[in-house]
């Protein structure tokens, strides 16, 4: 089976800052893969390389067998992308928002309305489809963005912090729809999140990224068991949490190094808009 994503020695620098520094990562087709790490770890830069937003040399990134440098359009046709920011257009209705993405993915006119309706139904937004997106709650906007990504039947869905700033009920709602869509379509999901409980609960495998590289990789249980063994815990001791694994990998001093001003501002703006 072809890997959904294969990064080989992926490196990307902004000036002197190496945001991604020799990333080797394979995401298997059909799995939900969580990319975790502190702000500034290189997650978003890695995602931008995979989505062709940032140029990479040939041979570093392949999406379902297509090289991200040589075959950009083919890669983009396979992708559904939801960025961290609330990117739905508030001046359009939910239906119009989804219809725009149906058009730019070449959905023919004869099936556009039906496909848009299915995408909206898949995220439970049928009743709100003809309201302006500016009147939606944060959770509804996230689901609308999911519908925008789903309308082109992507084989790889990439979600950058999809639940940031949402309340627990809205977070669960977003994840339920992601999980249900994945089960129904068999698509691969690559997600970044800061919420360790979400990664633990919904991801098949996670990669912990720090300073531009993957520092730990496996299923959430494997990573927690691994830390427990390194700490010499007995079989009856409770497993460490994924957050413990995160702290173990990233170490101390995160407050001083994680994320620049722009990262934090963007995160806060998104949280403020959904809250």
């Amino acid at each position: 089976m072809t890997d959904a994503i294969a990064c080989t020695g992926l490196a990307y620098a902004f000036g002197d800052t190496r945001a991604v520094d020799g990333l080797d990562l394979t995401v298997r087709e059909g799995e939900v893969f969580g990319l975790l790490g502190p702000n500034g770890a290189g997650k978003t830069t890695a995602i931008r390389c995979v989505t062709t937003l940032l140029p990479v040399p040939p041979g570093m990134v392949a999406v379902l067998g297509h090289d991200a440098a040589r075959d950009r359009m083919a890669v983009r046709r396979l992708l559904g992308y939801v960025p961290q920011q609330l990117s739905a257009d508030q001046g359009l209705t939910g239906r119009e928002n989804v219809s725009l993405f149906a058009r730019v993915f070449d959905v023919p006119r004869r099936e556009r309305a039906a496909r848009v309706a299915q995408a909206l139904a898949a995220v439970d937004l049928t009743d709100a489809a003809d309201r302006l997106a500016g009147t939606y709650s944060g959770g509804m906007v996230r689901r609308l963005e999911l519908a925008q990504a789903l309308v082109s039947a992507p084989r790889l869905l990439i979600l950058d912090e999809p639940t940031i700033g949402l309340d627990p009920i809205a977070r669960t709602g977003v994840w339920e729809h992601i999980t249900a869509v994945r089960e129904a379509t068999g698509m691969t999901v690559l997600v970044t999140t800061h919420y360790m409980d979400e990664a633990d609960q919904y991801c098949d495998r996670v990669g912990l990224m720090h300073r531009g590289r993957i520092r730990a990789l496996g299923t959430p249980v494997e990573l927690r068991q691994g830390l427990g063994e390194r700490r010499g815990a007995s079989a009856t001791d409770p497993l460490p949490s994924l957050e413990d694994v995160f702290r173990d990998v990233a170490g101390s001093g995160l407050d001083d190094t994680s994320g620049d001003f722009r990262d934090v501002r963007s995160t806060r703006r998104t949280a403020q808009r959904v809250g």
């Binding site: 937003l53 940032l54 961290q84 119009e96 058009r103 898949a122 439970d124 669960t172």
Partner: protein, 286 residues
């Protein structure tokens, strides 16, 4: 790191999926070759019209300034008779210039809009679709044109109410629409090109203010090129707004114009603008 735990599952996802998603399992057939560009342009123009349909506030507020130009400047200078207009009332002479000015002001805003779209994640999401950057910029340029044409209709109606003797020949009005679209395409691309260089909204607003009025005054929108000092005449010959106003005046008022040259210059300017803005779009994605 782990904040509030996720809530217990609800039934909404199951309910949603009970309704069928067969179409979402089949990727659409890619459009090939020449059909891709008009499809993208059509999609982005449709978005502008949908937004205008939902909220016409901008259309009304943007009509205030041209109305004031025609009402105050136009009527006053018609009485003064200080500017040679070739025998037509000054307000008539001014009206095509104000239409071009309104269209330019709308188009110049597109640079700020594309930076806002970058900050909001909209631009990245569009750049991850199978849309070449040149098609995205062309789409935005024509969307600016569509918005400007709607604005031009408003200004033409205001001018008609103020007694300006405009043509109502449908062919000439179609020609006006084409000129407005080409002019707006150029100015929106100029603005998006500057956005790709300066990368920040604050800097672009400074640039926008610095270039908008000089472009307006270094054109034949308010007065004929012949009465300008030599250096300003030279500048006006490189200013696409001059050719836009010349064509609008010829089409709307029937004054002597160089329509072939005007259309040619605006077409080349729009093409160069699209090429420049497309080449710099990648800087905004980083």
């Amino acid at each position: 790191m782990s904040e509030a735990p996720a809530a217990p599952p609800s039934a909404s996802a199951d309910r949603a999926h009970a309704q069928g998603i067969d179409l979402l399992l089949r990727p659409p057939e890619p459009r090939a070759g020449w059909r891709l560009l008009p499809a993208r342009v059509g999609a982005l123009c449709a978005v502008e019209l949908q937004k205008l349909r939902h909220d016409r506030t901008e259309l009304y507020t943007r009509a205030v300034q041209p109305a004031l130009w025609l009402l105050i400047f136009g009527q006053t200078f018609t009485r003064i008779r200080a500017i040679p207009t070739g025998g037509i009332p000054y307000i008539d002479y001014l009206a095509p210039g104000i239409i071009a000015q309104s269209a330019m002001f709308i188009a110049i805003f597109y640079g700020i809009q594309i930076i806002w779209e970058r900050d909001a994640g909209v631009l990245n999401k569009l750049l991850v679709t199978p849309t070449p950057r040149s098609a995205l910029i062309t789409g935005k340029a024509f969307a600016a044109g569509v918005k400007s044409v709607v604005q031009a209709v408003v200004v033409i109606v205001i001018a008609a109410v103020l007694g300006v003797a405009l043509t109502w020949n449908p062919l000439r009005l179609i020609g006006v629409a084409v000129i407005v679209v080409l002019g707006s395409a150029f100015f929106s691309c100029l603005s998006m090109t500057i956005a790709g260089i300066v990368l920040s909204r604050d800097r672009l607003m400074g640039f926008g203010q610095a270039i908008t009025m000089p472009l307006f005054f270094a054109s034949n929108a308010l007065y004929p090129v012949a009465i300008m000092p030599g250096w300003l005449q030279a500048v006006s010959r490189f200013n696409p707004l001059t050719y836009e106003v010349d064509a609008l005046r010829g089409l709307l008022l029937g004054t002597p114009a160089h329509l072939a040259l005007d259309y040619g210059v605006l077409l080349v300017a729009a093409a160069l603008g699209i090429a420049a803005a497309s080449s710099l779009l990648g800087r905004l994605a980083r």
